[in-house]
């Protein structure tokens, strides 16, 4: 007797659950306005207030739009965007994602090229097969080497190293003086890879700008002799004791504190570190490019930017207008310059136009952006055609951590080639 009601209730329960699980898409028309979802991420510098204020400002300039903010649970917005796509909730606007991860699937809409060309210093900094999916509002150098002037003086080093040999000499002098030469936040994989990013960008891409394109075309390999020689430099730094022995246990946030409080003399890091330089001791810090054998300056460069537009957005034209308004708002750039060390790339503006207060070391670092020098894509960080295939960054980070404890440079690089093969399929 119990079977019939059980069955009926079971079906009803299932229907109710199915209905409950069928999600709204968070967008659509709301009281005459078009609601768009906007994926952002929060950091101590780019907090909720920053995003709310910037959204309000851009909304004012884009009549008819209503923004529903989605905050990524971590700074891995690419991963979160993929999860949202998987569950049918791909946002209409996506802040600072890696377009190459999504363009292949036709998920992004490019910006109007005329607008990009008219407004930015390096219009092609983020270009993917000729299209721009993220306005190149700012840029970073990844990495630069930041150094503590007082510790250099204490070790008898009078000028910043200009080539690899001078760099090694400086490390040796610092170590002899009982100062840890190089800081490494090795517990966070991206931070652990910084010296390797510097070495490969300077020694390999500095000599062949198209190395990553050649790797895609299978003309070169990670296991090639020149790459092995370059990466052996990292082992030289490790085996010479120029990093703290326990560096793989140091969190990225701790590495900043350790460097800024004088526990280490040098810190290879992305130029976003400039936002963490303590204002009261800022003059004690300087920067120099990752050194090459010859002393030629190579700048591992990354075009940063604002938001990408979903090709499936409810109103792509309106979304683009919002993206344009947000991208050109100097107030947003001001926060990014001061707190995230972003180098502004909007045409016709100088630092003064952003009404920012920056340190001397910021100006020193920013100078490399404007100079006519050998700018190459920072391996693992580029968001243009030189971006690594999806999943390879993880393999690259793992190799960087492994090479901290293992001598098998050729073996680790061979693993990267194998990972590339899988990732590029």
């Amino acid at each position: 007797m119990i079977r019939k009601p059980l069955l009926a209730a079971g079906v009803a329960g299932l229907l109710a659950l199915t209905a409950a699980c069928g999600s709204g898409d968070g967008g659509g028309k709301e009281s005459g306005e078009t609601a768009l979802t906007y994926l952002v991420f929060e950091t101590p510098s780019l907090d909720a207030k920053f995003w709310d204020d910037s959204i309000t400002a851009a909304t004012t300039q884009t009549p008819g739009v209503k923004i529903n903010k989605i905050v990524a649970p971590s700074t891995d917005r690419d991963g979160y965007a993929k999860q949202l796509q998987q569950s049918g909730q791909f946002p209409d606007l996506l802040q600072s994602i890696t377009p190459s991860n999504f363009v292949g699937a036709g998920l992004l809409k490019p910006y109007d090229k005329t607008w990009i060309d008219a407004n930015f210093l390096l219009p092609s900094a983020n270009s993917l097969k000729g299209e721009v999916y993220i306005p190149p509002t700012n840029s970073q150098i990844v990495p630069q080497v930041y150094y503590n002037k007082k510790l250099f003086t204490d070790a008898g080093i009078t000028t910043a190293p200009k080539n690899w040999q001078e760099f090694l000499d400086a490390c040796a002098k610092l170590k002899a003086k009982g100062i840890n030469p190089i800081e490494l936040g090795g517990a966070d994989p991206f931070a652990a890879s910084m010296p390797l990013v510097g070495i490969i960008s300077a020694d390999i891409l500095g000599k062949n700008k198209n190395w990553l394109q050649d790797r895609y075309a299978d003309k070169v390999k990670f296991a090639d002799a020149d790459m092995v020689t370059a990466v052996n430099k990292y082992r030289t730094l490790v085996t010479s004791g120029y990093f703290d022995k326990g560096a793989l246990g140091v969190k990225y946030a701790d590495s900043i504190t350790r460097f800024t409080t004088g526990k280490s003399a040098m810190y290879p890091m992305g130029s976003w570190f400039l936002g963490s330089v303590p204002k009261d001791t800022a003059d004690n810090f300087g920067s120099f490019p990752w050194p090459t054998d010859s002393g030629d300056v190579v700048v591992p460069f990354v075009g940063g930017g604002s938001m990408a537009i979903s090709a499936k957005a409810k109103d792509t034209a309106l979304a683009e207008k919002f993206g344009q308004a947000w991208s050109l708002n100097p107030a947003n750039l001001k926060a990014l310059i001061e707190t995230d060390g972003a180098f502004p790339m909007i045409k016709g503006k100088t630092l003064e136009d952003y009404n920012v207060t920056v340190t001397k070391v910021f100006e020193e670092s920013y100078a490399y952006v404007g100079q006519d020098n050998n700018k190459v894509s920072a391996i693992g960080w580029a968001t243009n055609d030189d971006a690594l295939p999806a999943g390879l960054n993880d393999a690259f980070y793992a190799a960087a951590q492994a090479l901290f404890t293992k001598d098998d440079v050729a073996g680790e690089l061979k693993k990267l080639d194998e990972a590339w093969k899988t990732a590029a399929q």
Partner: protein, 299 residues
Amino acid sequence: MEDRRTVRKRNSGERGLALLAALALGLYLVFLVLPLLLSLRSSFTNENPLKAQNDFIGLANYTEMAGDDQLRASLTFTLILAFGVTIAANALGVGFALLLNRTSLSYRVMRTVAFLPQVLSGVIVAFVWQTILTQNGLLNTALVNLRILDEPYPWLGSPHAALFSIGLVVTWVMSGFTTVVYLAALQSIPLELHDMASLDGVRGTQRFRKITWPMLAPGTTISVTISLITVLKLYDIITVLTGGGPANSTQSTALYIVKLAFTSDRVGYASAVAMLLLGISALVALTVTGALRRREVSL
């Protein structure tokens, strides 16, 4: 003969029960069986979260697993952790349960404290332990200041130490659960048995060996099985403590599955690995439960 009111009451009670059962069944089907079936289907495809269309590729994902070094490493790590933690957490659970098997208020408070790690979210637990175990953490600061160590030790920065550290944290969490299970089991042992043992002059370790330990057998079965399954699918604590590093040396299989799906965009392959993990978990759970059940009977 039953009157109408009694029959109506009984029917309405049955309907209420049926509704509750249906709801439970619905939840089970929608949130467990359906995802499992979808995952199984996905494991035979090259599903990519960014692509609308995916192809059926037969057993290709399953054959690829045979040559996947990262998978092998993650399974080895997961199994070592699962068995290590299960042994340690159950030993601690028995010990704590014996210590806390009293009825006074202070013991009841201590029981609550012992269970606390199990109540806290894994993410919070991991963040707390991270502040203790990082290079500049509380543990190194204390050990260096007490001159036990000359320099900070990389508790999370070397593969072996990181395995030990994760094991320690997970054991701490699981011991709350095992303590409660063993306490319940201890309290279900008839007092008469202990009284008779006292009369026979059986005391101390002999009493534990002859009476307490055999009578804890049902609790052991539950505690060991649940500990094993929990650690086999561990994700949150590892993600926060080490992120699977250094150099993927602490990458659990669950973490590897998430990375495959959402970093490498290989949902199909990730689903196949998830099926393998499910199979291994089921096999381990069935084998261990079977062995422990047989032990219960023989005791």
